[in-house]
Structure formats: C-alpha cells, structure tokens
C-alpha cells in the first residue's frame, strides 16, 4: 500500500462518478495530497486535535470486565471522550481545515446516527463555515438529540425522504447537492467510502486513533493479541487498525451489524458472504444488493452501522484475510452496553457496543497475559431514547408523559 493515496485497494475503490463531479474530486485529491505532506497543515491539525477534540483519548484498562470475563485483559480505547462524543470529529476537523485551505465557504455532509453531522456542525461553528447536513427521515426520528445539537451549532439539517430515508439516501442527497455547489462547497464525507480520494483521506485523518493506540501499547508494555472495532462505512476501524495492517499480528476483528436476523432487510452484514461486488455512490466495493443490482434495505439498532456498503479498503482487507469480519446481533449489543456500564462505568454508543459484544465473546479465546483492545468509537449519550426504551421502558415512558403534561403548556 502507498502511504497517502492509493485510489484502488486490490479490485475495490476507484472514482466512478458522473463527469460533473470529476473536476471537484481531482481538485480535492491534489489539495489533500499537498496538505498531508505540509508540516504547517499537520501542525494545525495536531493542535486542534489536542485543544479542540481533547486528544489523546485514554486507553483504559477494563479491570472489572476482565475479571468478570476471565480471559485476556480487556482495554478500551476511549474515542467516545472526544469532543462531540465520537471519533467522527477527527475526520471532520481534518477535512474542515482542508476546505479552508481550498477557499471553500460552505460545507455539506451526510449523517446516519447524527454523530458525523454533529462533528461536522461543530467544526463548522469553530472554523466559520455555512453548514448543511443531510439526514434520512428515519434517522432524524431515532436520533433526535443529535438533530438538536446540530441546530444549536448553527447547521441546517435537511431531511431526506427518498429511498429508504437512511444513511445511504443521505449520501445520495449530499452528492446531488455537490453536483450544483462544488465551486464554493466542500462535501465533508464522514466515512472511509465514496469516490477517491475519500477512502484514503478519511483513513489518514482517522489513523490518529491507531497511532495513539500503538504508542499507548508500547508505554504500557502490552502484548496485544486482538483489536476489535465496529464497521459501518469503516472509518473508526480503518483508522484504529491502520498502523497494524502491514503486520500479521495482532488479530483484527471488524464487527458488522447482525441486526435482527440473517434475512435480507434485517441486518447490515456485507462481509458475511451475502454482499456482492458492486459500484454504488462512486466506489467499487461489497454491497448488499439483489441480483439486478438494486441496493437492498438494511437494519440495525444503531443508525451508524445501518448502511448497505463498506469502505473499499476494508472490503479488500476482508478478502485478503487480514481483517476478520464478525457480527453482533441487536440483542447482544444492548447486553454489551449494559455489561460495560455496570462493570466499567462507561456507556458505549450502540455502534461501538458491537465491538464490545465481540470482545466479550473473544476474552476467553486468548490467554490471561494477552490484551484485547476494543475501540469505543463513541459514547452512548445520543442513544438515551433508544436505550431507555429498550432497557427501562415503563419508567421512561412515564417520565416522557410527565414531561409533556407538566412542561408543554
């Protein structure tokens, strides 16, 4: 693999876009490669990483969980402590600085769980951009707190009704906007997917997670046997795994959304042998699609993993076997949230809890002197409405009723 820009990863990746977007992507590729090799740009990025995001994020020894599980030592990379609550801001601040360098004045983004939207809106407030975030109507409904935060940051949240009204449709809508607006607008894509240079660029900005982890592991002298991350589009996982891809150790696990069942429409497991090679939204990768090539609906309790495609580099690394793909079911995910809350006093985002669930399954497979590192890509504050409904329904509903009856006058 080349250091900054690959375009293709094995057979996957590329830039399959209508001619109208080509000049913008050419321009973006040049600006990105130029910036990533420029010391002053990197200096600015690092300084905002520390002062604005709060990096480095800690690597926590999950001692109680380790004892409860009785196997390898569990460590948690606490990306959820980043400003705005998830890893998404690492990429948002990188691309925000790049957009500034390119002289853009407006930023558009797609969002699923709303974490990328919140990160982007926050960066736009910080760096002074106009901001519009596309979000599927289904996701707006289930992640309302994040809609509120985005608007508080001054962003406009544009509901997307087309298709399945989830993340993939928000990507489509952002691409349609960009086909009009590219002269003054940067499309701040939130995961390691889409046409090149996005998969390379997003990975590069997210690799800060893996690089920090590598240093922290060295400092603590850990013998790491496995690393685990959840995989939606793939930005937290590829950034977390990045420094370890060229070696054959540790074992790397990408965890997809198993949803309710393995029936079509009930899950988002693309790497389970069900997904097919395809070209969608500007890149070639593995997609959940039917025989005609129509993309099929997905489901996950976590909006952020509810997506039919996967970043091209991950698809490639799945094929070569460097990354193993597993899945966690909705029910296992809720259980994992509860487990880490009770044992460690931390609340995983539903997305990240997919990785947590896998770590619970893995603990006993490795010996006690080894370490397993879980990337907690986000914290669960945004999931309050879902978690409370699932874990404590009656109390929660009576609270909501009271809130409306007493305060909605």
């Amino acid at each position: 693999m080349k250091p900054y820009y690959n375009n293709f990863f094995g057979e996957f990746g590329g830039r399959y876009v209508a001619e109208v977007l080509r000049p913008s992507l050419d321009e973006l590729e040049k600006a990105y490669v130029d910036a990533i090799n420029d010391k002053s740009f990197l200096e600015e990025y690092r300084s905002l990483c520390s002062d604005f995001i709060g990096r480095p994020t800690p690597l926590l020894y999950a001692e109680n969980s380790t004892k409860a599980l009785g196997g390898a030592r569990i460590y948690i990379k606490m990306e959820g402590l980043a400003n705005t609550g998830a890893h998404k801001i690492n990429n948002a601040i990188g691309q925000g600085l790049l957009a500034k360098r390119m002289g853009k004045t407006r930023i558009i983004a797609e969002t699923g769980a709303g974490q990328h939207g919140v990160a982007t809106a926050s960066v736009c407030a910080k760096l002074g951009f106009k901001c519009r975030v596309y979000m599927g109507e289904v996701d707006i409904k289930r992640q309302h707190p994040n809609v509120f935060w985005m608007e508080l940051f001054g962003a406009e949240v544009a509901p997307v009704k087309s298709g399945t009204a989830t993340l993939k449709d928000a990507v489509n809508e952002a691409l349609r906007d960009w086909a009009w607006s590219f002269q003054d607008t940067h499309y701040l894509l939130g995961s390691a997917l889409g046409p090149s240079p996005y998969p390379d660029m997003v990975r590069e900005f997210q690799s800060v997670i893996g690089k920090e982890t590598q240093e922290q592991v060295k400092e603590l002298g850990l013998d790491v046997a496995a690393m685990v991350a959840c995989v939606g589009g793939g930005s937290n996982s590829i950034g977390f795994f990045y420094p370890f891809l060229g070696k054959d150790k540790p074992d790397l696990f990408g965890v997809e959304a198993g949803g309710l069942s393995s029936q079509a429409g009930d899950h988002a497991t693309r790497m389970d042998g069900i997904g097919k090679p395809g070209i969608v939204q500007g890149y070639k990768s593995i997609f959940l699609s039917d025989d005609d090539g129509q993309v099929i609906p997905t489901h996950s309790v976590s909006a952020g993993l509810d997506y039919a495609g996967i970043g091209p580099q991950l698809a490639h690394l799945g094929k070569t076997g460097r990354i193993r793909f597993e899945k966690a079911m909705d029910s296992e995910v809720l259980e994992a949230v509860r487990f880490f809350a009770e044992n460690e006093g931390i609340i995983f985002a539903l997305e990240s809890a997919h990785a947590g669930a896998q770590a619970i399954k893995l603990a006993k497979k490795y010996s006690r002197d080894k370490a397993i590192i879980v990337n907690m890509s986000g914290r669960g504050d945004k999931d309050l409405f879902i978690l409370a409904r699932e874990l404590d329904k009656d109390n929660w509903f009576s609270f909501l009723k009271k809130e409306i009856n007493e305060n909605a006058k």
Partner: protein, 250 residues
C-alpha cells in the same frame, strides 16, 4: 432549423402497460430518439421527480428482465433509435458484456451510464464498440478541454451534454455559457444530445441550431404524475403526444 427531440421515460413507471403507451406517444408525436431509463435504487444524477418515479417503478416490480422485454417491444414499434440509460451497479451486477449483449438483442442502439465515465468504465466503451452499440458519455460544462478530448476519443458518434451543473429537473437558462460549451463539443465532430432542465418550446428552438437533438425528461414525468394523481391514467398518451407536438412547433 428543424428541432429534434430525444424523449426520456422510465421503464415500468407507473407500470408496464403505461410505459408502452408513453413510448407510443413519443414515437407518434415525432420524437427522434428514445431514452429509456432502467430505475436504480440510488441514482445520484436523478432529480426529485425522476427519483420518485424510479422508486415507484421499483415498488411496482420493475426488474431488469422486464426492462429488456419492454425495450424490445418498443424498439419493434418503429425505426426511432432507443438508448438505454441506467447506473453502473445495474450493468455491473449483470456483467458489462452480458448486459450489453442483451441491449443489442433487445434492439437498443446505445447505452448511457453517467457513473461509468471513460477510464473508469469497466470496459463499457470497448465492449460497446465491439458489439456495434453507441456508448454515450455524459459531460457537463465544467469539463476541461483536455478531458473533453479524452472523452470524445473514447466514444463514438454521440455525446450527451448536460447544459449545466447539478442534477436533472430544475429549469435551465440557455445563454452564452452553455452555448459556448455546446460549440466546443460539436466542434470535435460529435453529435450533441443536450438536456437537463429543458421543458419549453422556446428552449428547444434556441438549442436547435447548436445540437443534434434536445433531451426532455422531467417535463414528461411531471405530466405523467399529474395524470396519475388525478386518476386519469388513460389521458397520458394524448397529453404526451400533444406536448411533443407543441415542443416541436416553435
């Protein structure tokens, strides 16, 4: 200067039978080319009206098999050439070569795939040429001169020029800028089919001296939608027929 039209429709919208009526209205109304779009779940160049129509066609059971059957029935109606438009994943899922063979068998003259541009085309251009099908690239005014030449070298006779940036649907003002762009494309020797935002006879007349044909899509979809919303599906043929006559009149 005689105006020519390329008329666009969506296969299976609102259903198979009506699609045939739409095609007949186009042919009998005097269209010079038919563009038949195979709906894709995630068409990123489609404006809101075309998206909605594609969603509806898919929900009503559109399949690629049905699309090809429809194309062969429509192609058999007349000598008006038929071009199939769709997106990369539909052709990639079938296999580029197999899909193109089916285009040929169904009697289509060419194919338009906006997200398989020359050099990221999965051999679309080479395979199309080998089968004697026109593969028509879609270009936009922001294209550089170098890229325009590159694209033209790959393609055959036709170029599909979108008259502005953005997606299909919204009205396009025709002025110096897009005419300059059309001149550049025509200057290479291409037959230029131009569209995106064309809905009036005045636009068609203004374009006529500069293009081989004007492409009209959303304007027809809006008419079809109006008929469906008013419960008057049987009127679709006559309304489209009259609309084409009117568009060609100015």
């Amino acid at each position: 200067m005689q105006s020519k039209l390329m008329t666009h429709m969506i296969a299976g919208y609102p259903d198979r039978e009506t699609s045939l009526a739409v095609a007949r209205a186009f042919i009998e109304g005097g269209s010079s080319f038919l563009e038949i779009q195979f709906p894709f779940s995630d068409g990123t160049a489609d404006g809101p009206f075309i998206q909605e129509a594609c969603d509806k066609a898919l929900k009503a059971g559109f399949s690629v098999n049905m699309g090809f059957k429809l194309v062969s029935e429509i192609a058999a109606l007349s000598d008006v050439p038929v071009f199939i438009m769709t997106y990369a994943n539909i052709i990639f899922a079938a296999g580029v070569k197999d899909f193109l063979s089916r285009c040929k068998e169904s009697g289509a003259s060419g194919i338009i795939i906006p997200d398989l541009p020359p050099d990221s085309d999965e051999k679309l251009y080479a395979e199309g040429k080998a089968l004697g099908l026109h593969v028509v690239p879609v270009i936009a005014p922001s294209i550089t001169d170098t890229r325009l030449k590159e694209v033209f070298n790959q393609c055959g006779e036709y170029i599909y020029a979108s008259l502005r940036k953005g997606i299909t649907g919204q009205y396009t003002e025709i002025g110096e800028e897009n005419l300059e762009f059309l001149k550049k494309a025509a200057g290479l020797g291409a037959k230029v089919l131009a569209g995106f935002g064309i809905s009036t006879a005045e636009q068609v007349a203004t374009l006529a001296p500069h293009v081989h044909a004007s492409i009209i899509g959303t304007a027809f979809i809006k008419e079809i939608k109006k008929c469906i919303d008013n419960g008057k599906k049987d009127d679709i043929y006559i309304i489209l027929y009259n609309k084409i006559k009117a568009l060609l009149k100015a």
